[in-house]
């Protein structure tokens, strides 16, 4: 494990004056995502789960750090890799698994699938799987909050690859000129599918792309859940003060394939090893124990509880009903509204 990262997290734990329950909740949520993703990977590889999957093992700290700084009424938008964001924002494993299995119990009644999970009641727009497509949409959601004069904010997740899209530049530019309450979160996991991000841009820091549109761009350690959390708390305050959007580049790494059965042969071994040593699921509990917040036994108990929770949810999801053929043609349009006087 990367001792430097553990020490950095310890300093934050000690300086931050956090409640033990909050810190353990961060770990539990991160582990929930990891366990969910590992189970889903197994179910997909054994052939019992339909579709395709884009997973986020290794990136749990960025999802949980951001969403822990948001309220239910604040919104997130996500991408083709949305499982971690959804679980961090409060979607249940049951509604997620139902969706991945294509069952009516899913958060989108089985019509969205893995790449479109979301739940408006929990503050998550069904994920948009066109790379960069959610970036102007997030600005529009934030515009609605501004026009309605609410204090809600939008947190918009996307990857390093999305910053090559026109939608990125158009979206953040308009968010900037109108001071919209949106936090742009670029999870830089070094690869757009199999292509190294460094081969797709001249910039060393993706955060610098924000400067071209006049909003602040900052790099954050995306594997340090507390660093992500603290930066998001500041970003929310900035948005609520009417000071406009901010761009955070969360430096992280995907320790699983891009999708399906990708064996990641394009990731060099030494790079992989360095990032595996910074796995948030390992370093955060190590820091908690080293700081005396909790014991290894407490961590083990949380892990066992999550494992049982996911196993039970998988069992339930597999029993949920499939859509009927009548469901094919519903939900294309809204039902005619009562006439407006």
């Amino acid at each position: 494990m990367n001792q430097e990262l553990i020490k950095k997290i310890q300093v934050r734990i000690e300086k931050g004056g956090y409640e033990k329950a909050f810190l353990l909740d961060l770990f539990e949520r991160m582990f929930l995502i990891r366990e969910f993703e590992e189970q889903v990977k197994f179910l997909f590889l054994e052939g019992s789960m339909p579709g395709t999957i884009h997973q986020c093992q290794g990136q749990e700290a960025s999802a949980v750090g951001v969403c822990s700084a948001l309220r239910t009424e604040d919104f997130i938008t996500s991408t083709h890799r949305p499982h971690g964001h959804a679980l961090a924002k409060g979607l249940s494993p049951d509604e997620m698994l139902g969706e991945l299995y294509g069952r009516t119990s899913g958060c989108c009644k089985g019509k969205g699938g893995s790449m479109h999970v979301g739940n408006m009641d929990k503050g998550m727009l069904p994920a948009i799987a066109i790379v960069g497509g959610n970036i102007p949409v997030a600005a529009g959601m934030a515009l609605a909050f501004k026009l309605k004069k609410t204090d809600q904010v939008v947190a918009c997740f996307f990857g390093d690859g999305a910053t090559g899209e026109g939608a990125f530049h158009e979206g953040i530019n308009m968010a900037a000129i109108w001071d919209l309450p949106v936090i742009y979160l670029c999870e830089n996991n070094l690869y757009g599918a199999s292509t190294a991000a460094k081969d797709t841009m001249r910039l060393d820091r993706i955060a610098d792309r924000a400067l071209g549109c006049g909003l602040p761009g900052k790099q954050v350690d995306g594997n340090d859940v507390l660093e992500v959390y603290e930066n998001t708390v500041e970003a929310v305050k900035r948005c609520q003060a009417g000071e406009g959007p901010i761009f955070l580049e969360l430096l992280t790494y995907r320790i699983t394939g891009h999708s399906r059965r990708d064996p990641c042969h394009y990731q060099p071994d030494d790079e992989k090893k360095a990032w595996f040593d910074k796995d948030p699921i390992l370093v955060f509990p190590a820091a908690l124990i080293a700081s005396g917040v909790c014991t290894q036994q407490e961590i083990d108990e949380l892990r066992t509880g999550v494992e049982q929770q996911i196993e039970a949810a998988v069992g339930r999801a597999q029993q949920e009903p499939e859509p009927t053929l009548d469901d094919l043609t519903t939900d294309v349009f809204c039902a005619p509204a009562a006439s407006v006087s």
Binding site: C107, P136, V137, A139, G140, A144, A337
Partner: protein, 338 residues
């Protein structure tokens, strides 16, 4: 009651909807600039004086502002987006087709996108990239409503119905029908003004309108081609032919009830479309008519449309590209003689 041009009627409709509902706002390029021109065709002229905070002038970012309209609509606002020329819709296609149209379905009916996208079409001496009839690219997109307005009365009523509708609505308008004035007046413009009632009214998004009754042949048109079809029908009347003209208006879904009743009566159908013939709106309409009313048809459904070329600049070529009245008359006569 007052006489208004199509642009004026739209402006009045937008104003009334913005007065009625605080969640209605306008977004687009050059729409609310003081000293500007109120959009390319004067529809939103001076609205910024009344609604400064709800007239959002954007950078030249069609994808971006369309996505912003989608996001705002998802959160309960009712944006009226203005695509300066409909050709630019291609830049915004991802947001319209992948997000606005599909969000309702892929969310399992939990999200709605109540937005209106207005877009002017038609060849008007501006060359190939400010001239296309873009309706064709949207009628086959499940989740979108598509309408086209041919006169001022319908424009106002359909605009209001579109704003109040909970689905994304693509609203197509024609540059030669606006009646834009002053520096924004169009050469070759056609009078499409109407008497507009003082009271609030809407026009349904899914209904065609019989504009002229007849018994020998049904002619289906919309936008500029509707006006030319009416002229052709009037000319044929003097030759003793009774032609029924329908303003299709609702391009998705088609109002097959109104269209079918007419074809049942006449037994003949001619579709007149501005825009290349291959893969056009008329192709779908002809197929739909044939599937439904083959037993009533006494002649093949005829399509009169633009040539399969990009819209040309040369005025002579532009006239040759787009169906004019004589070509429509010939087509109707050919169908009548079949």
């Amino acid at each position: 009651m007052k006489r208004l041009s199509l642009a004026e009627a739209l402006r009045e409709g937008i104003t009334e909807e913005m007065e009625r509902d605080d969640s209605v706002f306008c977004i687009g390029e050059d729409i609310g600039i003081t000293g500007g021109f109120g959009g390319a065709f004067t529809v939103t002229l001076d609205l910024e004086k009344k609604f400064r905070d709800r007239m959002l002038d954007t950078p030249i970012s069609e994808l971006g502002f369309t996505g912003i309209a989608v996001g705002a609509a998802i959160m309960g606002m009712r944006p009226i987006a203005d695509m300066q020329y409909s050709d630019f819709l291609f830049l915004a296609m991802d947001q319209l087709v992948n997000t606005a149209a599909k969000m309702r379905y892929m969310s399992g009916g939990t999200v709605s996108v109540p937005m209106v996208m207005r877009a002017p079409v038609g060849a008007t001496g501006r060359g190939s990239q400010h001239a296309q009839n873009m309706e064709r690219y949207f009628i086959g997109v499940p989740g979108l409503k598509v309408v086209a307005v041919s006169n001022a009365y319908d424009a106002k009523g359909i605009l209001k119905a579109a704003v109040r509708n909970d689905n994304p609505v693509m609203m197509f308008e024609h540059k030669l029908l606006y009646g834009s004035k002053g520096a924004r007046a169009e050469i070759g413009a056609i009078d499409s003004s109407s008497d507009i009632p003082d009271e609030d009214y809407t026009v349904p998004l899914d209904k065609a309108a019989v504009c002229r009754e007849g018994t020998d042949c049904t002619v289906l048109g919309w936008l500029l081609m509707l006006h030319r079809s009416k002229a052709a029908a009037a000319a044929l009347e003097s030759k003793g032919k009774s032609v029924e003209v329908i303003d299709v208006r609702s391009l998705s879904p088609f109002d097959y009830e109104t269209i079918g009743k007419s074809i049942e009566k006449t037994g003949r159908a001619v579709i007149v479309e501005e825009g290349a013939k291959t893969g056009g709106v008329g192709a779908e309409l002809a197929a739909g008519i044939t599937e439904r009313f083959a037993g009533d048809l006494m002649a093949p459904v005829m399509r009169i449309a633009s040539a399969d070329v990009p819209p040309p600049f040369s005025p002579i070529l532009e006239d040759a590209y787009r169906p004019e009245v004589d070509r429509i008359i010939e087509g109707i006569e050919e169908t009548l003689e079949f």
